[in-house]
């Protein structure tokens, strides 16, 4: 397996299959063999996750396959990212986000999906868990200098806290520093527009798309 294209194909395949162990061991080999890690990510793993996205769009992949692929991608990236950063001295992410289910709400399936898919697509994700106090979102966002704050809510009652968080950002003069993405079962495009959010995803793949579009539009807000 000395042909670099062969190993890249195996990496992509590991992600498409959702094979965590294979994805991680190939990544470890790439680091040990001093392969070009940018190439490894772009033509190997990222190519795989793109294929997964296509299979999802086509209706061939369901959530269990999607999650398994995201986990495989994450396992590889966990090994590749530090190596890449130490060799190049530069961050390697698509963007940085804090994500959590909002105060008063303990439902986290949807949030976990988005969190995994964002990481799998190269975003640096800080997952704060469920029932996250509004102040914590903001403190962690400031601390980690993130690009996005991603807010999930499953209940119509807790959904209102999404509006409150945006108001809080305004009050603290921080609204311009972060893009706010909202999601969750009761959340609609209209609601996102009403509360002045920057983006909305009706599912995990759409959330990734929205995040990528925002990054492409303005890079750092």
């Amino acid at each position: 397996m000395n042909n670099p294209n062969e190993i890249l194909a195996l990496m992509a395949e590991a992600v498409v299959e959702g094979n965590r162990d294979k994805a991680a061991s190939l990544a470890a080999r790439a680091v040990a063999d001093r392969l070009d890690l940018h190439l490894v990510i772009e033509n190997g793993y990222a190519a795989g996750i793109q294929k997964v996205g296509e299979l999802w769009e086509k209706g061939e992949y369901f959530l269990p396959e999607l999650m398994a692929s995201a986990e495989a991608m994450k396992a590889a990236m966990t090994l590749l990212r530090p190596a890449l950063e130490s060799s190049r001295g530069e961050p390697s992410s698509e963007g940085k986000a804090v994500i959590g289910t909002i105060e008063g709400d303990i439902h986290d399936i949807g949030k976990n999906l988005v969190s995994s898919m964002l990481s799998a697509n190269g975003f640096d994700v800080i997952d704060l868990g469920a029932d996250v106090k509004l102040g914590i979102f903001i403190d962690r966002a400031v601390e980690a200098k993130v690009d996005f704050i991603c807010l999930s809510a499953l209940l119509t009652t807790t959904m209102l806290n999404q509006r409150r968080l945006i108001a809080m950002l305004h009050d603290r003069g921080l609204r311009g520093r972060f893009k706010v993405l909202v999601g969750g079962a009761p959340v609609t495009r209209q609601w996102a527009a009403d509360i002045g959010a920057d983006g909305y995803g009706e599912n995990a793949m759409a959330a990734v798309k929205a995040a990528k579009e925002i990054m492409a539009r303005g890079a750092k807000p």
């Binding site: 369901f62 959530l63 303990i106 399936i109 949807g110 009652t157 009761p186």
Partner: protein
């Protein structure tokens, strides 16, 4: 005469019922449940169960669970506003009620969902009162025109005023129980009368997998002490918050329900508890929770069978749909669910009127579903031997021109044997066309309008209404709410 057989459907073999229960008991003993509520943990500790205060995990012994199953009543009786009409919740009795706590209503004119308001809550309560086959009402909608903090007590405040039927409700906050209990006691004429003749069921939903939040555990304790029946609403989502196999999800469902049952029995031995739920076959494509999926109905029927095996009253969310309009899907899913629930002998069946994953109510659907529930009742009434012989005497000496339309036998039995729908279309094509050629939802809308226009609301006595209002205003005031919407029947 041959006794009439009550048609009944059971999905599980006896061996599988016993295996699910055995695994559930093992789960409770080995893994236990997460109990956020300190008072509930104290109850467990005082009863000698293993409570880990560092992670709020409670392990419950097999003996304790079986003892609690033994002390919970097999049958619960509910009474209407007057206290005269009795409803037996147990055995194979079936009572339908509207799905509870929707936040939206289908606006018939616009054919789009919108937020529900107090006036919608009044209307749905009045219509439920008029529905023959809905034995119970529920606090079916959450009003968006009052602050959320008092949303739980407020919906009960409205429901109690406009329908005399027993009500399925629940708290959204720990403090909600006080005023809600007071309201029920006000209608019943005191807390002792309420204990003797329960008017309401309170839903308590564990968080899957195997967690009891502070609110829900407190509701179980408060209800047990007040003698109000608690309905345990486990709601695992297959492959997301519970095991993906139906049998596997049943183990978790039973474990969650049994742990809730124990909390109730520890708070007061003999307190009434209903073995219920709202699980769903999680959609692995859309990430949604389809209540109309056949697998969801299979889970419901199966845990109800297990609940019956344990000698407990049962409940399920069935006879509802995930459609967004009153379309073919709404009819298929609701009809199938209601019929299967009735065949399974589930005691409380919540769902009438509901669309869109339990988030939306429809007045039109409520009336259509009432008719569906009527069909389900007819189904489980079974086929009876009315006379002996059955037909020999009618068929003897029958000539070519004979018919039965003028037979006295026909007049004697046709109404007992056959039901007559009000909304389903049985017209000839021309007659249907002559009446405007309308779909069922249009006829349902016209009927709803007519009932609301012509049937005076069955309002509670003025003295009780004033007392309800006093309780509501005091609750509102304590929560910083100074004004409530005007309520018109």
């Amino acid at each position: 005469m041959i006794a009439t057989r009550r048609p009944k459907t059971e999905l599980l073999s006896q061996a599988l019922v016993e295996k699910v229960i055995d695994e559930a008991l093992t789960v409770l003993e080995r893994t236990g449940v997460f109990v956020e509520n300190a008072a509930a943990r104290t109850l467990f500790r005082e009863a000698g169960e293993a409570v880990d205060e560092s992670n709020f995990r409670v392990r419950i012994s097999r003996e304790r669970v079986l003892d609690s199953v033994g002390s919970a009543p097999e049958v619960i009786k509910l009474y209407d506003r007057s206290g005269d009409k009795e409803y037996v919740v147990g055995g194979d009795e079936v009572h339908f009620d509207p799905g509870s706590a929707a936040v939206k209503i289908l606006d018939h004119a616009a054919q789009r969902e919108r937020k529900a308001e107090t006036s919608d809550l009044v209307r749905i309560s009045r219509l439920t009162e008029s529905c023959e086959h809905l034995h119970f009402q529920s606090t079916a909608l959450v009003s968006s025109d009052i602050p959320e903090i008092i949303a739980d007590s407020y919906r009960l405040f409205i429901s109690l005023q406009f329908s005399s039927k027993p009500v399925v409700t629940g708290t959204f906050r720990v403090e909600g129980f006080g005023p809600m209990f007071e309201m029920l006691a006000a209608v019943r004429g005191g807390s002792e009368n309420l204990r003797r003749k329960p008017l309401a069921i309170f839903d308590a939903c564990p968080s899957p997998p195997l967690k009891w939040s502070n609110l829900t555990a407190q509701s179980l304790i408060d209800c047990a002490r007040a003698g109000i029946p608690s309905e345990l609403i486990s709601m695992g989502l297959t492959g997301a918050t519970s095991p993906v196999t139906i049998a596997g999800t049943l183990v978790q469902h039973v474990a969650e329900n049994l742990s809730g049952l124990v909390i109730g029995q520890l708070a007061r031995k003999g307190s009434p508890v209903i073995f219920g739920g709202s699980p769903a076959s999680f959609d692995m494509r859309k990430g949604t929770t389809p209540m109309g999926a056949i697998e969801t109905m299979m889970i419901d029927m199966a845990y109800a069978q297990i609940g019956k095996h344990l000698g407990l009253p049962t409940h399920a969310y069935m006879g509802l749909s995930d459609a967004k309009l009153n379309d073919a899907q709404a009819g298929i899913e609701t009809g199938l669910g209601a019929a299967l629930a009735a065949l399974a002998g589930i005691n409380v069946v919540s769902g009438a009127g509901m669309l869109d994953f339990e988030s939306c109510q429809s007045l039109e659907k409520l009336l259509i579903d009432d008719e569906i529930c009527g069909m389900a009742y007819r189904l489980i009434a079974g086929i009876s031997q009315r006379e002996d012989p059955l037909a020999l005497h009618l068929l003897e000496g029958l000539g070519p021109e004979s018919q039965f339309l003028t037979s006295p036998h026909t007049r004697t039995w046709y109404k007992a044997e056959h039901t007559f729908p009000g909304l389903a279309d049985r017209d000839t094509y021309d007659a249907w066309l002559a009446q405007g050629g309308k779909p069922m939802a249009e006829r349902a809308h016209a009927k709803a309008e007519k009932i609301l226009r012509e049937t005076p609301p069955n309002v509670v006595d003025e003295s009780v209404r004033r007392e309800l209002e006093r309780i509501m205003l005091s609750d509102a005031e304590q929560n910083g709410v100074s004004r409530l919407p005007a309520v018109r029947g």
